[in-house]
Amino acid sequence: MNQADLSKLVSKLRINIRPRHYNLKNPKGPEGRLERLRIVVTGLIKHERIQLNYRVADEARGYAERLISEAIRYGDCHAPTMEIADYWLTEKQLIHKLFKVLVPRFHECNMSYTKLLRLSTDHELTRMQGVLELRGNPYPPLIKDLSRNRNLLHNVLLDAARKDYRHEQYLRIAQGMSSEGKKSNEETITGNIEDKDKNEKA
């Protein structure tokens, strides 16, 4: 049984955290593990999108997120934060980038600061690869967002099905109106449906 560490307050990360860290075997032990991750974090802040071994990417993602959240939380006038940034960013000009570019960029962001994608690789030849990127990077997106394309067959069929569904709803209401005299309730229902339709059109 453990007790939560009270000495430090941290902001909540918006990524899924594994219950236990990946070991990432290293001849130098835990210190070497951190040094390896440090290279990745520096590379991520520098290039904004990197491709690497998936487990290393997953592990480094948490450290990058924590670094950015600490920078947002305490700013550049806080000595411990500056020490941490100094450790994690081996190229010192990146400290400027962290505080002057990334902090304003993510200051009001309510999502995770990074994205991790799995690459389809040949598992027999290589280890699983992933792409780690900062949100809002200048490169073209890796996955095309087709959800606005109404002309996809799925969407065409579903649009038709929705019209039918609405039509049936109207019919049912009309039947109810003719058979029973409960107007007040149904008016609100029809109003709701019309609102829905309007929203959809908009």
Partner: protein, 386 residues
Amino acid sequence: MARVTPSKLLNFISPKIHLYSRVSKESCNLPIVTALGQSFQIRERRPAAPKPRFPLWFLKKERVQYNESLTVDNKNFIKEVSHDKFGPPAIISGLSTYDTPSPLKEQPLVKGEWTENTKRCGLITRKIGCYPMWDVKGRLIWSTLLQVVDNHVVSFIPSENINSERKNRKAKNPLGALLIGAESCDPQKYTKEYCGLFAGAGLPPKRFLSKFFITPNAKIQPGTPLYATHFQPGDVIDVAGVTIDRGFQGVMKRWGFKGMPKSHGVTKTHRRGGNIGGGGEKARVWPGTKMPGHMGNKRRILRGLTIWRINTKYNVLYVQGLAIPGETNSIITIFDTILPLRKKKQAPAYFPTFYPSDLDDPLPEDLYENSVHHFDAPTITFEEPK
């Protein structure tokens, strides 16, 4: 399963066609695979587990989640249809589920009479953690919390339709079975066939299913919700779950061997098992010898545990002991004990199960066993002998 073709998808959603295929009468007899039936290598002195075989009602449960690139309107429309069918999403006793309008199509079945040989159905629970309580004499009681997670009766399988090895035996009391489901889910997650299992009872698909053998007088109408008050504080139950998977372990952890000394000339054999057999006629490794190997991830039953306390608001059972198999947040099935000396001798308070409509006043939030100290009761004191 292949990628969902548009025509299939239209079938899936179009209101003209039924949302989910209805269960035919034949498929009612079909049993369902529990998540707990798994095959293992047997390496120890334990009675051999029954041979795992696919139940006849084996259905493909999960479908591959492709990115269908649906527009926002269409996504909302699919949600709307499922909410029209199963009710709006709601949080009921701490769990997110659907506020399904009472799926009991007919009146609840006529309640049977309890006899000594009656077997009731059990419940599917989630182990949510352990914490201490104290009894009225100030002694510490460790309890494990089991939450009854949104349980509903899915279907009743009469004894003649149960297709198992038991069918051939000439049993005195032929047992039927109740299929219980736990944790309502989004129907988009599962295959059409799997969702069809629940259509008969008018329920959304459930994440977990379990089959409990019952005597016919304990049957319950499909669609009935089950609560923690199916049991009473002081009842004795058996719990079944899958133990924590510890991977390949040595003899010290797996069998509790003592190991060998750390020093005094001992080299390279500090955690080893030592000798595994004799010579002469016994010059071989006997079956069942305790050796290193895979530990955990096996279904185990712990019998004869007392229920100390019941929380009716969140449907939580406080069960005796810390040794209930499985990790925190894993699924555990519980049922009345079969231990002959601790079995029920009298009819349970609610038979075949608890119906909230039967009571005039709602139950209090906490029900305690008589010997358990209430947390809001004054300090326990002992008087000096005179």
